[in-house]
Amino acid sequence: MTDLISAFVSLMAPVPFAFIFIGVFVGIIVGAIPGLSGAMVIALTLPLTFFMDSINALILLVAMYVGSTSGGLISATLMRMPGTPAAMMTVLDGFPMAAKGQPGRALGFGIMASFVGGCISWIFLAALSPPLAEIAVRFGPYEIFSISLTALMLISAVSQGSMIKGLIAGFLGAAVSMVGVDEASGGIRLTFGVNALDAGFRLLPVLLGVLVLSQVLKDILDIDQPVERVRTNTRDMFMKLSDLRAQGVNLVRSSLIGTWIGILPGIGGTTGAIASYTVARSFSKRGKEFGTGCEDGIVAAETANNAAVNGALVPLITMGIPGSVVDVILLGALIIHNLTPGPLLFTNSPEAAYGIIAAALIANVLMLVIMLAATPLIAKLMYVKKAWLLAPIIVFCLIGAYSISNRMFDVWAMFGFAVAGFAMLRIGMPTGPFIIGYILAPIAEVKLRTGLMMYDGSFLPLVTRPVSAAFLAIALLTALWPLLSRIHAKARAQKEVRHAP
């Protein structure tokens, strides 16, 4: 508790506070512009943090994460285009309500829901992280291996499109991570005689290529897409107390769903929003009105996607396992700034661990203030023509890829990953599992091989140690889920045929 309070005190100093403010503001703007996402801006900002103090760098990135997740609701409501994938469910009710002449009310519900979701999930982040880290310190290599495997399976299973394509993306990411130095033995592998590959494919060129540049190419494809506009007004943007009371159960339920889904390793805010929206529709008295401009729908989606942000930070700072693609970038930021992600973060660098937690809450409060005060201005910025944004983004990507080790090879690798990522998007293969696979596969491999060295080459502890066994069972169930559900559906269909008159 003392550590957390001192983290709050230190973050209220002018410089860290300014970084949080800038992070939230930039995050909201980027989140509001369709085609640009939080992952993009955080990946682009990462190289700029090289010169910064590690705490300031982390809080800036966390603030961008919070801001970008919330900013997505502005374009979802006013343009019928989710600014970020996590706002995709907000479109269903936000835009119809705005089109009916109540844009302020739709935005107000979304903003307040984002704030409440962020606050409730922050309580879990602050309360769960320190004790979880204490438990996670006792995890051996087999537990970490099983958790990594589960995260890989979950992200592949819940990513958009077919599970097979999600798995292919995950394995491709894993394959890319295997090139270069084998961390367990120190030997070089899979370089096929290319000396430049000895150091492997570095994090930033992979991230910038697959996440940012591939999206730039996709944006260029859709550059002629017409935009629907709804005039913004600030009337009714402040949610009434009676509305807040009426949405109480929805807010708490959606926060819990979002937080829980965020905590599950490998799953992010988009799934949280979908799950929460579906549950809210089932429980709401106005379930039939969902999709026509119902407040309950906006609240469910926006509460959950913001709650998932803090939820996803839990596995990141307690176990070093990223909860979403953005968390992969935050993991990269921790490594670049010489901080060890995982349970030891609380022991070795408590100021960083508690700084992240405190920054998440401050960013959430600033998000509320900025969104309520500046949404009409931000709404104007989101109509900026993409033609003017894409060249600077490519230049920033080049600087980011080059600056990691001052060699053009990384720039070419980034261009290669951009084309690969673009091809993946074209055939409906999600890029999220690729990034998660790239990050988690080396962790899984090193931990498994370390475990084997510790246990004289025995695989048995994988299933005899309870935590490891439990996560392996989840991974196996996730992998078999499509098959099981198909068998179940077939059996049900046969039963219906038998009972048919």
Partner: protein, 169 residues
Amino acid sequence: MKRFLKSRDPAALVTESAAMVVVIVLGAALVAGSQVLPEPVYEPVGPAAFPFWAGIALIILAIAAFGEALAAGTRPLPDAPQEQMPAPPLRERKDLAFLTIAVTALYGLAMDAAGLSFPVATSLFSFSLIVLLAGRKPKTLFLAALVALILGFGLQAVFMQIFYIDLPS
């Protein structure tokens, strides 16, 4: 072959099949690359096992994805009346996407092979790309030139003088 010809969108099926062939080739490369790695010494897995099994998994999954695409592509069209079918998507600007890839590759080559400095290469690249995407009206040309110069020379100054980050030179 018949299934290909009957499919709803042969072009998409060909694209997807080509992508899966690439995945199979990558999987095969992983398997081949793992065969030349040393035997395990300290534990039974060694450096070759993960690349080998990742390669095998990629090959199997690519074949499964191909089967999935074929099954989906040859499924009969729904009986919905024409007016209920979704509107055709807007024309995609594939020409612009390919030109962007070409201009970006030239940008990299200009610095890597032709030895052009960062500010000059960046200014030229930014101007070309903005004009390509935003049009060639006089006002656009003027603004594009201004933005290009700021990006080229401004970023050089900011990154090298303030952030102490080296740029390609």
